[in-house]
Structures are given as C-alpha cells and as structure tokens.
C-alpha cells in the first residue's frame, strides 16, 4: 500500500490530522513528476497542470485495488500543491524580471502552463485568501478549476457538488475575485 493510499484511507476513516500529511507528499510527487518529464522533453516544452495532476494520481495509486477511494481528497491536495507551484514559478519569474537575483538554472526547472499571465495569477492568489476566509468551498473550487485546470465535472466530483452548482459557484467566484482584485489594485 502506497503512503498516499494509507493517508487517504486515514482521512476516509475520519483522521483529521492525515490531511496535513497528504499535501507535502502530493506536492513533492508533482514536482518530481514534472522534473522527470522535462528531462525527456525538448527545451521550451510546457507542462499542462491537469495532465500532471491526473498522472500523479495514476502513479501514486497504480497498484491499489480501490483506486476510486480518496480521489476527491487527492485532487484537493493536488490543486493546492499546483497552486503553490504556479505561485512559486510566477514569483520567481517576477523576481528575475525585476532584477531580484541573478538568473539561476533551476528557475525554469520546469515550466507549467499557467492559467493566465503571472500578474493575474498572483493577484488571483492574493484575493483567494480572503475568499477562503469567507467561503472555503468556493475557494477550493477556484484551486481545482483555475489552478489545477480540472473540468467542472471533475471539480464538482472532488467537492461533492453537482456540476450545475460548480458552474454557479464559478460564476460567483469569477465576479467576486474580479471585484476584490480591483479593490486591491486601487488600494
């Protein structure tokens, strides 16, 4: 049994602490997966976050019999991990652009396709924190759909909501984030 499966089963069994153990594992797996893919790709290749998340799920659960179990928790952790990776990349690129440090080889260790320009990703991320305080499930949807690139069907499945609710939430989140970001920009 893989470590991820063990943790997922603990979460399913009601172990609240297990959730915290899942994120670093998934984060590391996504980074390793991206690095290994880049080693076999031609320079300039851009990795798709959705593909990475799905492949990480398959790799970490390849030999388990109950593959479906804990899928929602896994995707939640993967979305958070992907958000961190994209934010790290955006910050590094911004720092390099602004002369915040000499270019390092590992800055573009791998390039994950971002959902938008760096400024947008960082602005969405800043506003997302406030949304999470007000309405965590909706903030989770933004992570799943915007940062991890999951479809509405996949996001709805991970959150345990209907697809129409996911669509409605996304409409709300998009408008709410826009408004919040605009306020942040003005201030």
């Amino acid at each position: 049994m893989s470590e991820v499966t063990r943790i997922l089963q603990s979460i399913e069994a009601g172990d609240n602490m297990a959730g915290g153990q899942l994120l670093p594992l998934v984060y590391e797996e996504l980074r390793k997966l991206a690095a290994s893919k880049m080693a076999h790709e031609s320079p300039g290749q851009t990795l798709q976050p959705t593909a990475l998340v799905h492949e990480a799920w398959l790799r970490l659960n390849a030999n388990e019999s109950e593959k479906w179990q804990g899928r929602a928790h896994f995707f939640g952790a993967a979305a958070e991990a992907m958000r961190r990776i994209l934010i790290d990349n955006a910050r590094r690129k911004r720092a390099a652009r602004h002369g915040g440090g000499r270019p390092r080889e590992d800055i573009l260790e791998f390039d994950v396709a971002a959902p938008g320009p760096d400024d947008e990703i960082l602005a969405v991320n800043d506003a997302l924190g406030l949304l999470a305080e007000l309405d965590k499930p909706k903030a989770d949807l933004v992570k799943l759909h915007y940062f991890a690139g999951l479809t509405f069907e996949e996001s709805a499945d991970a959150l345990g909501i209907s697809v129409s609710t996911a669509n409605r939430w996304w409409t709300f989140c998009r408008a709410w984030l826009f408004d919040q970001i605009r306020k942040n920009v003005i201030s």
Partner: protein, 318 residues
C-alpha cells in the same frame, strides 16, 4: 496596473460566458423571481398559474431568449418561430441616446420594436382581438412569457438607446446629413480587445453585483433586491403607453452608458449576419467609477422592472 485591469476584465467578460441576452439568464430570472414574490396571493398570481401551471415567472422570463436558440426547443417554441420569424427584433429599440424621448419617427424606432411589442402582449392577455397585428398566432401563455421578458429587456439601457457615430464621434442621426453607422446598442463598442460593452451590461454587471451582494441564485438575488428600499417605480401613463416612459428612462441612462472615450474605428470587421464590412469602435478601459455606477444602475433598473411587471399583471388581472 492598467495591464492587470485589462486582463481581469477580459477574464470576467469572456471566459465561460454563457449568455449574451439582456441581463443574461441570471438577471432575467432574478426579475422574474421578484415578480413571483410581489404578486403572491393576488388574482394576477392565479391567472399566471392558470396559464403557466407550475412554471414560475422566474423560469418563464427567459423563454423569449431561449427561443432564439437551436437546442432544447419545445413544440411551442418551434411554432412561435415559424409564425414569428422576425422575433429577434421585438427585444429592443435603437433610439439615439441624444434624443430626449422615444418617438415613432426617430431613426432606430420601428413598428415592431420592444416599445410596440409590450402593449401588443398586454392586448393579447386582455383578450383583445386587434392584438394580433404585431405577432402572429401567439397564445396568452406565450404572450405572458414575452411580456415579462420584454419589460425586463426595456429596462436594460442598451435595449432602448444606441449610439450613432461619424468616424469616432457620437452624433444624433435625426436630421444629420453626414455619413454615420450605428453601434447596435453598444454591441459594436469594444474594450480590452474584444469585450463588447453591450455584453458587459447584459451579463457581467449582474454577475458582479450578485457577487457583491454575496448571493448565488436568482432567488437569493431577488430577495436581496426586494429587501432594499422600494425605488420610485410608478409611472402615471395609461397601461398601454407606460412602456414609452420606461423607454425614455432607459434612453436617458443609455446616454450615461455611452459616456466612454472612443479611441479608434476598426473597419476590418464583418457584420455577423450580412457578412458585409461593418465597423467596430475601440473604447477606453472601463474605470472603477464606471463599473460601480453600472452595478448601481443595473440594480435600480432590475428592481424597477420587477415592481413594474408586478403592477402591470395586477392591472391586467385586477
């Protein structure tokens, strides 16, 4: 920061846009939900129920837009389109926003525009035989759906007022001798590359205001709007002419909606219907003040529409 503002508004106006009809689905359903509440327990509600059955006015209020589509068409929709092939034009009028009021002989007014469609619906609901001059073979059930929708449309300023431009200058085409083109209710005014100002007013502004109110559904939004102080919605004109007053209000608002700086004219675009060259105009990014005013105005207009539709139904069925 201007760059960020541009990408964000594009994000909001383009991505996953589902509907580009006046007020969008959310706005129409919201006004309909307000009316459902406002007529509860009245004779009007009984008549509405006898015509629509379990279909609420919230649901009925999007029928006139959905009939424009190609999917999920009911027999009733197919029949309506067959006998009323020009139904697209019933939703709006294009009075130059410089005009102080709606008049039948203005450029942009037609005898099949929204100002004529609303009284025609009322006449059908009143059972008047002369009512089928504008529509063809429209039942009372369909007329009710159309009436609710058209009154909602008329309260979207860009469904009443339009801009007419000579190069990059707005002009009043009535009596104008130079060459001009109309902006089709700001459908041909774009900002941030491809975002239509009309779409912003149809959809984006409603979604933005819903997010500000922290509501998700039309029913929640309707409750939010009804919880606010009642606006000054009453109009003294006779029932069949009242929509002209509403049009006048919208035309005046459309002048403010058009208070945007036109940057340049782009002649490379084709009209999507005729495939002939037709210009679009690029306008300046929408300022935060403009966006805030838009939200407030949309809220006011939707609320007025709700009260006015309820009053209209109560007058048809006292």
């Amino acid at each position: 920061m201007k760059f960020l503002a541009r990408i964000l508004i594009s994000w909001l106006t383009c991505a996953f846009a589902l509907s580009a009809f006046a007020w969008g689905d959310e706005g129409h359903r919201t006004i309909g939900a307000m009316v459902d509440t406002l007529i509860t327990g009245t004779d009007a509600a009984s008549h509405v129920h006898s015509l629509l059955g379990d279909e609420t006015l919230s649901a009925a209020s999007v029928w006139a837009d959905h009939v424009k589509g190609r999917t999920d068409q009911t027999t009733e929709m197919v029949q309506f389109k067959k006998t009323n092939p020009n139904h697209f034009v019933f939703h709006y009028t294009d009075i130059p926003f410089e005009e102080p009021k709606y008049r039948d002989d203005s450029i942009g007014a037609t005898n099949v525009d929204v100002v004529h469609a609303i009284p025609a619906c009322i006449l059908i609901l009143q059972g008047k035989p002369e009512s089928q001059t504008l529509f063809s073979n429209v039942s009372q059930r369909v007329a009710l759906r159309l009436l609710v929708h058209y009154i909602e449309d008329l309260h979207q300023p860009l469904h009443a007022g339009a801009g007419y431009l000579d190069k990059t200058n707005f002009i009043d085409p009535n009596g104008y001798t130079g060459h001009y083109e109309d902006d089709q209710g700001a459908n041909r005014l774009v900002f941030g590359g491809t975002n239509k100002l009309h779409f912003f007013w149809d959809v984006t502004v409603v979604q933005l205001d819903m997010a500000r109110a922290h509501v998700e559904t039309p029913q929640q939004y309707a409750a939010f709007l009804l919880s606010k102080p009642v606006p000054d919605w009453k109009t003294p004109s006779p029932l069949l002419q009242r929509d002209r007053d509403w049009a006048n209000e919208s035309i005046a608002l459309s002048a403010k909606v058009h208070d945007v700086k036109v940057l340049d004219e782009d002649d490379s675009q084709l009209d999507y219907r005729t495939q002939k060259p037709r210009p679009v105009w690029h306008i300046e990014e929408l300022s935060p003040a403009y966006i805030d005013w838009s939200c407030k105005t949309a809220e006011d207009q939707m609320t007025k529409a709700g009260y006015r539709i309820a009053a209209t139904l109560k007058e048809i069925w006292p």
